[in-house]
């Protein structure tokens, strides 16, 4: 009799254990972690895939200045580099920090991972100082090119580097293209409004002023796109993927005057490499890779109207 009670008790314990286990799994399945105030708007049959490189933290960094002081790019080994406050570089995946011996204002990376720095007076590359005895490794900025006068900003294009300077005499912005073969910049165009973003290649330049984007090619300007709500903060271009923009709250792809703002979020930094676009969420320190982003080219077209909002998928 005692043995039977013992068996019953044993089975009950096992049953309760499995019940708890399944409930726990079920509860976990319901617990969905999403990134707040972030939306993906993609054509349903697109080839784009999402890969998380750094899981975003649960809490938000509530320091706008700190977020603004961060710059982001992807190096040649496809590792993220975050520049902080113009004095420090960090790789959040490998856990390495490097101090830069000279403050810089802008960090740009080309598609192949070459990282260049500018303090608006000179163009540099960074070389790690192996002889340093400090706890944190240090890098020295080595000068590549001295700008002829103080510039407004530098911009990376498709296998090309541009810089913009303000000409006070005719109150216009002059765009120069770097030619490293003979270490010189060639003035390519003059624009009479403030340039907020610029990209392009040796044949075509895209520049943004306010909400508008202009294309310059064959010596002529052509209106290219106007964002319906926000100023363009950044333009990114590669021949493989096309032209992308970033505003304060969105990242989109422009083609033939039409755009898809495929990611809406706050305080993001963006970098284009090959066929992937990398988005760094500065507020939550998360990093995502959207692969095969060139597929969006297929969907950039004019929308006549919304005909249906389906209840179920």
């Amino acid at each position: 009799m005692g043995k039977r009670i013992n068996y019953c008790f044993k089975y009950k314990v096992i049953f309760l254990f499995f019940l708890n286990f399944f409930l726990a799994i079920s509860a976990q399945a319901q617990k969905i972690e999403i990134v707040s105030k972030t939306f993906l708007i993609l054509p349903e049959d697109s080839k784009i895939k999402i890969k998380w490189m750094i899981v975003p933290s649960k809490e938000e960094l509530d320091n706008k200045k700190l977020q603004d002081n961060m710059q982001f790019c992807i190096d040649s080994r496809k590792k993220p580099i975050i520049a902080y406050d113009g004095k420090m570089l960090m790789n959040p995946i490998t856990g390495s920090l490097i101090k830069i011996n000279k403050p810089f204002k802008k960090m740009v990376c080309n598609e192949d991972g070459a990282i260049l720095f500018s303090d608006n007076a000179n163009l540099y590359y960074a070389e790690v100082d192996v002889s340093t005895k400090s706890v944190l490794p240090e890098a020295t900025l080595k000068k590549i090119y001295e700008f002829p006068h103080i510039i407004a900003d530098i911009y990376m294009g498709n296998e090309s580097l541009f810089w913009v300077a303000y000409n006070e005499s005719n109150r216009s912005y002059e765009v120069f293209l770097l030619n490293l073969e003979n270490k010189s910049f060639q003035k390519v165009v003059t624009f009479n409004e403030k340039i907020s973003a610029l990209t392009g290649d040796k044949n075509t330049i895209f520049l943004a002023s306010g909400r508008k984007v202009w294309e310059f090619s064959d010596g002529k300007f052509r209106f290219y796109y106007e964002h319906p709500r926000e100023d363009i903060e950044e333009l990114i271009y590669s021949q493989k993927t096309g032209l992308f923009y970033k505003t304060a709250h969105g990242i989109g792809c422009i083609n033939n005057g039409h755009a898809i703002e495929f990611l809406q979020t706050e305080d993001s930094k963006v970098f284009l490499k090959e066929k992937s676009i990398f988005v760094f969420f500065a507020k939550r320190f998360g990093l995502i890779e959207l692969t095969d982003i060139d597929d969006l080219k297929r969907y950039n077209f004019k929308i006549d109207k919304i005909i249906d909002v389906k209840k179920n998928i």
Partner: protein, 323 residues
């Protein structure tokens, strides 16, 4: 005392009468220094003297003195004896108190040493030059490679320069009705602004925005998603014949594997763990090594110093990452 006075008086006599002079060896150079010789008297034959006696007094080499020929042989003999006795004494009197026994290298040796020194210096200079050239070459090659790399990466042809005057921007820009304008700014939408992490409610709010009665369900990956079908203009469309397209509006979810769930729950500590993990481990190991080898190293003290060395924004960032 008496003895000394006696010697000194004799010395005075000899000097005042120019009875003899003496030479000295320079203690520094080792050269023999003699006072200038008095004019040699013209030899004259004294007939009263024997031929042996007329012979001039033998001149001793080195430090020996010359004797005046006006003295008699016996006087000369006496003087020579006195000189023989006095010479060592006088030499000792006129030598420095602590004579330098080391006479120093000879000029030939000095010359040879100097030549060797010069040769050595030249050799060292050559080696330094060679080393510097190697380093310079290496450095130059490295910079060249880098520049070449950057150059090849950024190589561009110079674009034809357009006219310098700013080009006129056409006015009356068209407004394109594209997906960006259709969907609006979901992030900034006031109706969803305060909703965080509740996907269903957000989607419901989106439904309200479009004035449609529609629901949401959990997508296979656990995401509430909204699908919108839009009619599309065919111009610029590669897939010919397709006139509608489905847009999926989805909230972005975090990866949900069990490991990633655990990591995600750590929130911002993940970053601190990743970034400062290596440093923390290094400091722990250093502390251990210090205990074993007997030197004091405090990880806490080090971190305190490290934090103090950061400027305000760095400290904010560090604290944010570390907490």
């Amino acid at each position: 005392m008496k003895k000394s006075l006696f010697f000194l008086s004799i010395l005075f006599f000899l000097c005042t009468n120019n009875a003899f002079s003496f030479c000295m060896r320079d203690p520094f150079t080792g050269n023999v220094i003699c006072p200038p010789e008095p004019p040699t008297p013209t030899p004259s034959i004294d007939r009263s003297l024997s031929p042996r006696e007329t012979a001039p007094a033998p001149r001793s080499s080195g430090s020996s003195s010359r004797v005046s020929s006006g003295l008699s042989t016996s006087q000369q003999m006496q003087l020579m004896m006195i000189q023989g006795v006095l010479q060592p004494l006088l030499n000792s009197l006129f030598q420095p108190t602590f004579p330098n026994t080391y006479q120093g290298p000879s000029p030939e040796e000095l010359k040879r040493m100097k030549e060797e020194q010069l040769k050595k210096e030249a050799q060292e200079r050559l080696e330094l030059l060679h080393r510097w050239q190697l380093v310079r070459q290496k450095s130059t090659n490295s910079v060249k490679d880098k520049n070449k790399n950057i150059s090849s990466l950024l190589a561009v042809d110079v674009m034809p320069v357009p006219e310098n005057k700013p080009l006129e921007i056409p006015s009356g820009t068209p407004f394109f009705n594209d997906a960006t304008s259709v969907f609006g700014n979901l992030v900034m939408d006031k109706s969803i602004e305060k909703i965080e992490d509740i996907g269903k409610d957000v989607i419901d709010k989106l439904g309200e925005k479009y004035n449609k009665e529609w629901g949401s369900k959990l997508y296979e990956k656990g995401l509430p998603i909204l699908k919108i079908t839009a009619t599309a203009a065919t111009e610029g469309r590669e897939a010919a014949g397709v006139e509608t397209i489905n847009f999926a509006v989805s909230l972005l979810s975090k990866p949900m594997s069990s490991l990633q769930m655990g990591v995600a729950d750590l929130g911002r500590k993940i970053y601190a763990k990743v970034v400062f993990g290596a440093l923390d481990y290094f400091l722990q190991e250093t502390e251990k090594a210090g205990n074993i080898l007997g030197f004091a190293f405090s990880k806490d003290k080090f971190m305190e110093d490290f934090e103090n060395s950061l400027n305000t924004p760095q400290r904010i960032f560090y604290k944010w990452a570390k907490e």
